[in-house]
């Protein structure tokens, strides 16, 4: 195997600040929000009440994605059944004229099921999309300390492509908010 070049250029990709309590991380999040950062996140072992507001998060857009999928399911199911039983191959069931409004009750189970099915797809796929999943790796996993995020520590991560990111000022901001530890994670430049 060919040896890798030794003099690689490394550049900061993310800053990880560690806090010891939910209280500390909540107030740190407020500071980061007020400083105007946009590409950042918090990592806590359990849901911290008030974090949405502290981070300045807007309501999730997932609901809009779901309703688009749901209405697609509803209209799709209706179009499918009406076309199959009322237009393409008219079928008389229970003395109801094909394609007439009286056939509507018999369609309800399928209308309902396809609406639900596509809503569920919309919710799962929309969640993946909004969370930018799937991805194989994230720079925070470079840090050994980050494992504690699922145990007893609280983290804030700010990504280097944030327009406000500054290699000196950003760590100072986090440290100023009573961080127990701040580390800059670097990445190879390819």
């Amino acid at each position: 195997m060919e040896a890798r070049p030794t003099s690689r250029r490394r550049t900061p990709s993310i800053i990880l600040a560690e806090y010891k309590s939910a209280h500390d991380v909540l107030h740190a999040a407020e500071k980061v929000r007020d400083a105007g950062y946009v590409r950042w996140d918090t990592h806590t072992p359990f849901p911290v009440h008030g974090m949405d507001r502290a981070m300045g998060l807007r309501d999730s857009r997932l609901g809009w994605i779901v309703i688009v999928f749901a209405l697609t399911g509803l209209t799709g199911a209706f179009a499918m059944m009406h076309w199959m039983n009322g237009v393409d191959y008219p079928t008389v069931v229970g003395d109801k004229p094909p394609g007439a409004p009286q056939t509507l009750p018999s369609m309800v189970p399928i209308l309902f099921e396809l609406t639900i099915l596509l809503s569920a797809f919309g919710a799962v796929l929309g969640m993946f999309h909004l969370n930018r999943l799937p991805r194989h790796h994230h720079p925070v996993f470079e840090s050994d300390r980050f494992r504690l995020a699922s145990d007893d520590r609280f983290f804030i991560s700010i990504e280097a492509d944030d327009p406000k990111f500054d290699v000196d000022k950003t760590p100072a901001l986090l440290a100023g908010a009573h961080a127990a530890n701040v580390e800059v994670i670097e990445e190879d430049v390819s």
């Binding site: 009440h49 949405d52 609901g63 309703i67 009750p105 309800v108």
Partner: protein
């Protein structure tokens, strides 16, 4: 959130926070008198109805009685569910529900007496009505010179007769008619072991005693805790809740079978109990939203019930709307689909029979009990904006009352709203709410002794 601000100073003068009690000078302290006055006027109209129209009164009264009963039973169910799920968000609204279920044992056994006395007019299986039908069936075929009674005409019995049958010689038609009657008689006779006066009244007493017992137990557990703050009460209430819920489910189901389903003795619907239960829970949730909103506006609940709680109650209201629609449609769908005359009879009464007068009501239930509130309450913003949520809740309260009317009255005849119906509704509801308001005066409106109350106060939707 603007509602997070401290505005609870009116709620009490205690040094360590509000005590959530109704002060003596509050209009709420005298609300029971107003409700009682409305109740007395309503019952007077009902008594007039009983004296003047013996056929109609039992149905009107059953309608009024069940509207009030469904509110009380819905409250009992909500309290039981909060305990069985160990939910903490709802603790701050639990007391209002407890107050709604509190007078079950005092009010409903008394108010049921007129129903017990008029059972022969109410239930076809008790004989009185069957005799009427026999004479009218003769009249229909013109074997006697008497004209069909206007009530029978209006009920649409004549028009239901197949046209082919009318052209047959009278003798055969009578034979057909007799065969049909014998068939119906057989169905009713088959149910005789369950549906006879003694057993139905015995069961009614059992239901009322069970409801009284459950509501009293849960109210005492919770109100004692206000002073003792004993966690044992919560544990005991939680431990008893599965048994209590089973008792509730069985009693509500069979009450629905006995008093609402058997109005049409030849009709079957196994889902009917669940259908009535769905209405009951929906009605409670809508009423609870409105009552807590009014109490909050009077400054009696302070911050204990805030937007987060209304958001959750709105979600439950929405959920019950969907549940109701699912159950109601399931009942309709299976009957519509198989199209067997003895099963469709119930829906015929509410559609083409009775002169078609119930058609609009039936459609209104589909539109205003499902479509409009479903789309209206779907959004998170509607549930968090209290005036919009209140509008949705008002719609559901009105539609529940319409629905009970629609379940009960077509068994009597065509849609002809009558002052007696309104009198029965206001009479029973007034007396019941008067008892509820009276019970509000001696306890806090929030379970202040519940050890988990703080969790409810801090509750937040993510």
């Amino acid at each position: 959130m603007s509602t997070k601000g401290k505005q609870s100073s009116q709620a009490g003068d205690g040094a360590n926070g509000p005590n959530y009690r109704i002060p003596a000078n509050s209009p709420w302290a005298g609300a029971w008198k107003i409700a009682a006055a409305i109740g007395v006027v309503g019952l007077a109209i009902a008594a007039y109805g009983w004296a003047t129209d013996k056929d109609r009164f039992p149905f009107s009264y059953l309608f009024g009685y069940f509207v009030s009963l469904s509110l009380a039973l819905g409250a009992l169910f909500f309290v039981l569910v909060l305990y069985i799920t160990k939910a903490s968000w709802g603790i701050s609204v639990r007391r209002v529900a407890e107050l709604l279920m509190r007078p079950i044992g005092q009010v409903f056994p008394l108010l049921v007496i007129p129903l017990v006395l008029t059972m022969p007019q109410l239930f076809p299986w008790m004989g009185a009505k069957h005799a009427v039908q026999e004479t009218t069936s003769e009249q229909r075929h013109g074997t006697t010179e008497k004209k069909a009674s206007p009530l029978d005409e209006a009920r649409g019995l004549a028009s239901r007769e197949p046209a082919a049958l009318r052209d047959l010689p009278v003798a055969s038609a009578t034979r057909m008619d007799k065969a049909e009657e014998a068939h119906e008689q057989k169905i009713v006779d088959h149910k005789r072991a369950w549906m006879n006066k003694g057993f139905v009244i015995g069961r009614l007493i059992a239901y009322l005693l069970i409801w009284w017992w459950l509501s009293d137990r849960y109210f005492v557990w919770s109100s004692e805790q206000d002073k003792t703050k004993a966690f044992e009460n919560t544990v005991a209430a939680q431990r008893f809740s599965p048994a209590a819920l089973m008792l509730f489910a069985v009693t509500l189901t069979f009450f629905a079978f006995d008093w609402l389903l058997s109005l049409n003795a030849t009709w079957y619907s196994t889902i009917f109990g669940v259908y009535i239960f769905a209405q009951t829970s929906l009605f409670l949730m809508a009423s609870l939203i409105l009552i807590t909103l009014v109490l909050r506006k009077s400054g009696l609940l302070g911050d204990a019930v805030n937007v987060e709680h209304y958001h959750d109650m709105g979600k439950l209201l929405f959920g019950w709307i969907v549940f109701w629609s699912y159950i109601a449609f399931a009942q309709f769908f299976l009957i519509w689909y198989s199209n067997i005359p003895e099963e469709t009879a119930w829906f015929h009464q509410r559609w083409s029979d009775n002169g078609g007068t119930w058609k609009v009501t039936s459609l209104a239930l589909v539109v205003m009990h499902f479509f409009v509130p479903f789309w209206f309450l779907l959004s998170r913003n509607t549930k968090r904006r209290l005036s919009l949520l209140a509008a949705g809740a008002v719609c559901m309260v009105v539609m529940h009352i319409v629905e009970v009317y629609w379940v009960v009255m077509p068994n009597f005849g065509p849609l002809q709203p009558n002052i007696v119906d309104l009198g029965c509704l206001l009479g029973v509801l007034g007396v019941y709410l008067s008892a509820v308001f009276y019970g509000m005066r001696d306890v806090a409106l929030v379970p202040v002794g519940d050890p988990r109350l703080l969790r409810a106060l801090d509750f937040e939707n993510a």
